[in-house]
């Protein structure tokens, strides 16, 4: 099935300068009972966004109208903990298309790539610099070019490159889907099973 393509993205950013943000914070377990992929954006960071009575917590960045955009910037080890893909559905459902951090938890990174959400890994130093620029000027824009694998702070022109698996890059750029690929090699999989039966 064709998916949305990712080529370039220019946007302002939403900063959450905390480390080890786990997927329980991104989407708490009590919201995992749905059987579709829709609607999780409403509960993104639910317990940081709202207090016990359901009132907005004005200190949290998503409730600060000064910050907006399609790029989420967060501290290291973003997306650790539970494998719930619902965390990615919540982030994309809210409207983000890329997340920037100095490293991502493995399962979260895979889940992101499988849903067209681009995880951009930058150095800790660059991340600190980026967060401080966003904080002092919430209108700071960044430009992501997937083909060139570059991440640029538009105002200052500071550019860094980021790594991405070439296969996953192609999938994102062309909107390709892993399952279509796997279905196309089912014969090869069956042959593997046959060889394996002989070997075991």
């Amino acid at each position: 099935m064709a998916k949305d393509k990712f080529t370039t993205l220019e946007s302002t950013c939403v900063p959450i300068p905390l480390e080890n943000i786990d997927t329980d914070q991104i989407i708490p377990a009590r919201f995992l009972s749905a059987t579709t992929r829709e609607g999780f954006g409403d509960n993104l960071f639910r317990d940081w966004r709202f207090d016990k009575s359901g009132n907005k917590n004005n200190d949290f960045v998503l409730n600060n109208p000064g910050f907006s955009g399609q790029v989420l910037v967060a501290g290291k080890n973003f997306g650790c903990g539970s494998s719930r893909e619902h965390a990615v559905w919540a982030i994309t459902g809210y409207g983000f298309r890329a997340v920037v951090s100095s490293f991502f938890a493995d399962i979260f990174r895979n889940n992101s790539l499988n849903n067209g959400l681009l995880p951009v890994v930058v150095s800790e130093e660059f991340l600190r610099n980026l967060l401080s620029q966003i904080n002092s000027n919430p209108l700071t824009k960044v430009m992501i070019n997937l083909e060139k694998q570059t991440f640029t702070i538009t105002d200052t022109g500071e550019t860094v490159t980021f790594e991405i698996d070439p296969y996953k890059k192609e999938c994102l750029m062309k909107g390709l889907d892993d399952i279509d690929y796997l279905l196309s090699i089912r014969d090869m999989i069956t042959a593997y099973e046959f060889r394996n039966t002989l070997r075991r």
Binding site: M1, P17, L18, E19, N20, D22, D24, Q25, P28, A29, R30, L32, S33, A34, T35, T36, R37, D47, K52, G75, K76, N77, C80, G81, S82, S83, R84, E85, H86, V88, F103, F104, A105, D106, I107, N110, N111, N114, N115, D165, P166, Y167, K168, D178, I179, Y181, L182, L183, I185, R186, M188, I189, Y192, E193, N196, R200
Partner: protein, 467 residues
């Protein structure tokens, strides 16, 4: 031939195809599913108009959101009930074996797989659950995946996956009395930090690991994910073969002797390359407890909460965590009052954990202010606990044995810890709100949980050990 790690041997023999400059297509021997992370995968298959490729290689169990009381009644929460019904229907339609609520084989997916012989050495195993790493205790490559990947496995029995790096953690010496495998893994995570093994697959070895029972090894491998590791495994040995030999459905297979012979080769070769190699000494480990909001924020139970200059977190994250927990740097938590105790989960919900807890509380009484939630990991564990009289001991000491499920570990059901309350939990995560909005979790071993349940305070279990 170049020496290979155990991880390489299993991985390489399961590669159907290597994508040029990209990930591998990895064949999956055993796939587990549960109600929470599978519905969207089945929906995806329906939208594509395809069916499950190898239904015989997937096993389903309902565990995450089910109640642990009155399981014979209909699930009251409508969304949870629908999710379980959806799983049952998806399995029926696809011809997938399903252990639903009340089924004699029902239980937490990572307890059921090993105890029933679905998990065997040398396999590749995945499940839409990060604690799938548990199965690595048998010398398997087992790891958690997302729902898109669950759909891949249902569609093709394969997954597209980059090969992780390899890390070896050696623990020499022997654990001291009153120190358990849970303390060992909490110690390792506190030393390596919550993201310290990201990108790596861990092999655990050394005399302290070899001395552990299969239950103890499962506790270790289970929490590999809590240091960011893709998974963790332990080479199978006599302990492993003994455990499997007690599972009739496997031991009675005509090719069992052949399987045993093959499993004996499942170990890392002398001189095999690991990208990272770390060594620890078991004798240095005390009973552990966490004081923060990730499993890396742990310390010796008699320790002092470190100052922000001594911790591995960023300052704002660290202070936020302590503020959430109501703790301050430089203080001890020994003696701190406890409101709840949770024994259970895929980390510590096995028969050995129930035995250790029961032996500890036998002849003693639960502290009046403590609410205890004691949940067996599976129907089989529950039955065994009853056969061994563990339920009677628990009752006489003021505890009650619940019915199996994930329960308070992630509190999708009614087993929630109220806001602001302190819970000593044998589960795996102390994240903010993990056990219910506002709940404060202190991760510890079953012995430390038992000591807290008896005294109503954080207590060093070594002080109350019986001869």
């Amino acid at each position: 031939m170049e020496p290979k790690t155990l991880f390489d041997k299993i991985w390489d023999s399961h590669v159907v195809k290597s994508i040029e400059r990209g990930p591998d297509v990895l064949y999956i021997d055993q796939h587990f599913i549960h109600e929470v992370t599978s519905p969207q995968a089945f929906e995806g298959l329906r939208q594509r108009g395809i069916t499950v490729f190898r239904p015989g290689k997937t096993l389903a169990t309902a565990d995450h959101n089910i109640p642990t009381k009155d399981q014979h009644l209909k699930i009251r929460d409508e969304l949870s009930r629908k999710q379980v019904e959806q799983l049952e229907e998806n399995c029926r339609a696809a011809g997938i074996e399903y252990f639903g609520i009340n089924h004699p084989r029902n239980g937490i997916v990572h307890v059921v797989g090993p105890e029933l012989g679905y998990t065997l050495p040398g396999m590749t195993i995945v499940c839409g659950d990060s604690h799938t790493s548990t199965h690595g205790a048998f010398g398997t490559i087992a790891f958690g995946i997302g729902t898109s990947e669950v759909e891949m496995v249902l569609a093709s029995q394969c997954i597209i996956q980059p090969k992780p790096k390899k890390m070896r953690i050696t623990v020499n010496g022997q654990l001291q009395r009153g120190v358990t495998s849970k303390d060992l893994i909490l110690y390792l995570i506190s030393r390596l930090s919550t993201g310290g093994a990201t990108g790596h697959f861990v092999e655990y070895c050394g005399s302290a690991i070899e001395s552990l029972s299969m239950e103890g090894r499962m506790t270790i491998c289970n929490m590999s994910i809590e240091m960011g590791a893709r998974g963790g495994l332990i080479a199978p040995d006599y302990t492993t073969f003994e455990y499997i030999n007690r599972i009739p459905s496997v031991a009675n297979r005509p090719d069992f002797k052949l399987m045993l012979l093959r499993w004996r080769n499942l170990k890392s070769d002398e001189g095999a390359h690991f990208d990272r190699d770390v060594v620890f000494d078991a004798e240095e480990i005390s009973p552990m407890i966490t004081f923060g909001t990730n499993p890396g924020m742990g310390m010796s139970i008699d320790g002092t909460i470190p100052g922000q200059d001594q911790n591995q977190e960023g300052t704002s994250s660290y202070l936020k965590a302590l503020d959430y927990m109501g703790f301050s740097p430089g203080t001890k938590i020994l003696g701190h009052p406890v409101d709840y105790v949770f024994l259970g989960s895929c980390t510590n919900g096995r028969i050995e954990d129930l035995r250790a807890f029961a032996l500890f509380v036998e002849g003693r009484k639960k502290a009046p202010g403590v609410t205890a939630i004691i949940v067996p990991g599976s129907k089989k564990v529950e039955k065994q606990a009853i056969n061994e009289g563990i339920d009677r001991i628990l009752r006489e000491s003021g505890f009650e044995l619940r019915q199996p499920g994930c329960s308070s570990c992630l509190a999708m059901n009614d087993d929630k810890i109220p806001a602001g309350k302190y819970a000593v939990s044998t589960s795996n995560r102390n994240f903010e709100g993990r056990q219910g909005p506002g709940s404060r979790t202190l991760l510890a071993s079953p012995l430390t949980a038992a000591a807290a349940a008896i005294t109503g305070r954080i207590t060093d279990p070594r002080e109350l050990l019986k001869d």
